[in-house]
Symmetry: C2
Subunit: 292 residues, 2 copies
Amino acid sequence: MLNQIDQVRRFNRIVSQRAGTLDQSYLGQGRPLGEARLLFEVGHDGGNARELRDRLGLDSGYLSRLLRALESQGMIVVTPSQADRRVRDIRLTQAGTAQVETYDRLSDDLASSILAPLDERQKAKLVEAMAQVERLYRAAAVTVSAESPATADARACVDLYIRELNQRFDTGYDPDTAGPLDDSEFLPPDGVFVVARLDGKAIGCGGLKRLDFQTGEIKRLWVSPEARGLGLGRRLLNELEALARQRGMAKVCLDTSGTLTEAQALYHAQGYVEVAPYNDNPYAQHWFEKRL
Amino acid sequence: MLNQIDQVRRFNRIVSQRAGTLDQSYLGQGRPLGEARLLFEVGHDGGNARELRDRLGLDSGYLSRLLRALESQGMIVVTPSQADRRVRDIRLTQAGTAQVETYDRLSDDLASSILAPLDERQKAKLVEAMAQVERLYRAAAVTVSAESPATADARACVDLYIRELNQRFDTGYDPDTAGPLDDSEFLPPDGVFVVARLDGKAIGCGGLKRLDFQTGEIKRLWVSPEARGLGLGRRLLNELEALARQRGMAKVCLDTSGTLTEAQALYHAQGYVEVAPYNDNPYAQHWFEKRL
DNA sequence: GGAATTCTCTGACTAAAGTCAGATAATGTT
DNA sequence: AACATTATCTGACTTTAGTCAGAGAATTCC
């Protein structure tokens, strides 16, 4: 454990030395870092002043001044938005586009310069390790929180869950057939609903309801396709099991379709064992149970 | 290639976001980042004002003021050096040591917080990927340059090379037996000597001398134990081969002992084939050759 | 239609970070 | 001993980055 922490610290140190070089290459363009960062952001994800303020976490006064500076340099054009004339739309000029391209080239050069001294095998290894770090950083940045199944995010997740089942099942999927859609069963104190988020965006969910005094059932376990491979399914499952334990349940059960093979693999890996059908869900071909 | 660069850029972006958090945790201690960084540096690698100025790349006036600030906070004691009373020795006070420990704890906490949301397998994977990135960053930071075999660094490398052979050979190793130690054969235009450095420190070397019009011989190929696993042997070998090509040589050869199995593996992997003895070096059991 | 809210802008600040030109004292060089 | 060099310090300065308190216009809410 201590060794792991040391490794993380060493990693942070070395990598931010390199990242420092990147900042310097921005500075080298004769423009303060704050301006360069803003210009870069406008160039890549665009948007209006409010969005930029949120994304970069800037004070509105400060942002206003930065915009004025970039405008007077002829990098951007700021105009009141059509839809809401309080907000300002920001657009790159030709010169601004050229400048952003220069920054891009600098970033590319820096990336190349890291790779350049390595042979092909080492390059491939480094890039793979970077991808791994990135993936796991993303996994670590996911938050899971209990909330009402009626929140906008929770509803959105369940909608996507239903849409996906409808696509994957040969017969389609009608949630009412599987049992009436009743949010209240996922409400405390007996039930609970959890939503996973990455950078504020909902990317997964899961619900726990009480079947009887000692049994909970897990339903609506779903992970957004873009977030798969982060171990999030396992994490949601563990979270729901912990919540079941808190509610004094001695076991949890769940059902699943034969089509969802990756889900079955997850349940097996997490210690679930297949049991006889405990309900008559027409979409279910497998029933699982785990003692807590 | 383009994908690799994109991956490197994505990696830099994500990782420096995290590194930003680290800076913030420094700032959270009610001390400006510059002071905190200096204190941290004094605490870990110590040294006098000049060394710190070099390491952190600070202006001497700026450093002086930072030192004065830390001194007045009771974190450090600044005294004229015994050896040269122009330079200032810097020492942590008890309070300074305590403060550095606090920073250490904060860094540990940050590292833990990155790992915390992950399960054991993910933690292990992340740490392994970080170690890989670190290792390859180090490999990429190595420079190889041709220079006289008489420079201090070159001599130091050859000394360590000889000492190592002396340890690893059952019979010991006396460089004079293997052929007279004659630096001049590694001098241009016929020969060349290269030294590898990491962060200014010599960590490897290799020499090329001319045997006849079309043949070069590679000798004194050595990589410091601390730098092994970075692919440096291969890189030095390639570098020397390129220099041989520049000199119009059609092939290079080399000899090695049976004890140095990892060296033999390297030669095989780099396209060298074993040939009949071309000299009577008593320490050699294998002779290799490669067409260029 | 009036009040509350939202978005942006301006003026007036501050702290941090760093630069530059000497001044001073110690050390090297010849 | 004279001169050059080095290490540090001080004063005076600038730039960058950011904060805060309103003001004004547009929009939303009731």
